[in-house]
Symmetry: C2
Subunit: 322 residues, 2 copies
Amino acid sequence: MSLVDLSKQVALGIDIGGTNTKFGLVNHRGEILVKGSIPTDEFDTPEAFIEALYQKIQPLADEYCEGKEFEGIGVGAPNANYYTGTIEQAPNLPWKGVIQFADLMTEKFGKPCKMTNDANAAALGEMMYGAARGMKDFIMITLGTGVGSGIIAGGHLIYGHDGFAGELGHTIVKPGGRKHWSTGSEGSLEAYASATGISITARKMRAEFPDSMLNQYPEEEIDSKTVFECAKKGDPTAIEVFRYTGQKLGEALANFVMFSSPEAILLFGGVIKAGDFILKPAKLHMERNLLPIFRNKVKLVFSELDEADAAILGASALVWEK
Amino acid sequence: MSLVDLSKQVALGIDIGGTNTKFGLVNHRGEILVKGSIPTDEFDTPEAFIEALYQKIQPLADEYCEGKEFEGIGVGAPNANYYTGTIEQAPNLPWKGVIQFADLMTEKFGKPCKMTNDANAAALGEMMYGAARGMKDFIMITLGTGVGSGIIAGGHLIYGHDGFAGELGHTIVKPGGRKHWSTGSEGSLEAYASATGISITARKMRAEFPDSMLNQYPEEEIDSKTVFECAKKGDPTAIEVFRYTGQKLGEALANFVMFSSPEAILLFGGVIKAGDFILKPAKLHMERNLLPIFRNKVKLVFSELDEADAAILGASALVWEK
């Protein structure tokens, strides 16, 4: 009989973004032994990109995995497919078409490689190391430039039949509503609850209320950070921007709850810096739209993971996922 | 080593409705060996109801299970909780509060008993014996007096943390829309796509169009059957009733697809008799609201199970579920 010494296992977590790619070697407790990054957009081919990753990571792996076991690689990337290990038509990456990314990684590093999109990876990270430890049913919503999501049901990430499940940012919360700048859909959650959506709402509302403090800023500074500053100073228009955003988010969350009845919804990303300005109306409108059987049961909480490391941790969690 | 002879196993499937309760002894292939029913609403207590079930079923079980193995009991019932085996505050059953139904059944029949709501049971039935055989990711939508749903992801029914997942009929498709006659929510899918919702739509539309054939019927006959008759005869208002219903259904389905990315959506229940009058607009508006990555992938199909037997088959499938 051979016992596996979990404390000696190390996973490589990689988070591929449009501009930068971050990586880290992570142990079973979610401690990052070493981390680093390379630019994504300087490499014309995935092969060149992977070669650069290898040159940077392999010496670190040799150093930090001494006496330990380098178990495998987990990658979070836009449009990554869990089942096929491919990145498919990712609009914000330099490489087009369908890329056999996991196979290329395994060939180069000699380790198994699993992939999923960044929000799914974040959900796994929360389950493994964060606020969702011990939970079997929860939904992770990432509120950043866009709105992403990862859904855990019965202890497993929902991948769907094609690996692309969990695009909750693109569900429609207001039919015929605000047109999405990139997908063209009308009234999606992302069009309202992303940082981009908040900027649009703020620009509309400040035009309606000339007295608003928001009018003291040039157009390009009207973002969720500025709205937060004004809200903190008590500007009613800025507060209303977040209230409206929270309402749309809460209405969407109610629908999600009636789908998978999660124990908790975890919110993550830059937008949650607005805190109670968004959380309170979101909670109110979520509860208001729920069937009584679901009311006052679902925890609506902020992520516990450090934002800078969450993507690496989440990607590394793919390696431990069984 | 002992091999289990599946062909000899028999499950008791029970479907509890507000008025009648149907039951059947079912084998592994989904063949109903014998079936029957008792009234639900004539029994003041669950104990009296279960005693009556036992008196009716046990002699049949003795006869039809001879030389076979009576494996267990599956029950589909409104507000049934899979985890606790309870029926909780079911509005249309005569017994109030929280009833330890599965325990009472096991005590009486001496067999294990599993429960879930009727739509979840129907989804299991489709996976075991119906149109979803071999599928690991699909959504079942029951369009009857109400709108129910059962969601299968990764080969498993989604129960949620409390056992109540999959109330898709109560998700909001039109915020601030039609008020639901019983829940009070505004703009839920059930308010539009149930038989009740179709009647409401038909009454509104025939008032707007005095020339409609629908105006030849008394108020109480304005139901989805009458609308179907008029639509078949080419009445534009009746056709519009179904088109509008299909649109609302399709918009909701798009959101469901972006949640769990199913291989198929199965539609079931009385409303689907309207056929293409509903299916075509539903498909159109589902596709229109999907992200490109999900388009032209999801099969939208009608259930293959006989409606009269589907509930019994679905309940029996709980026994085989691992």
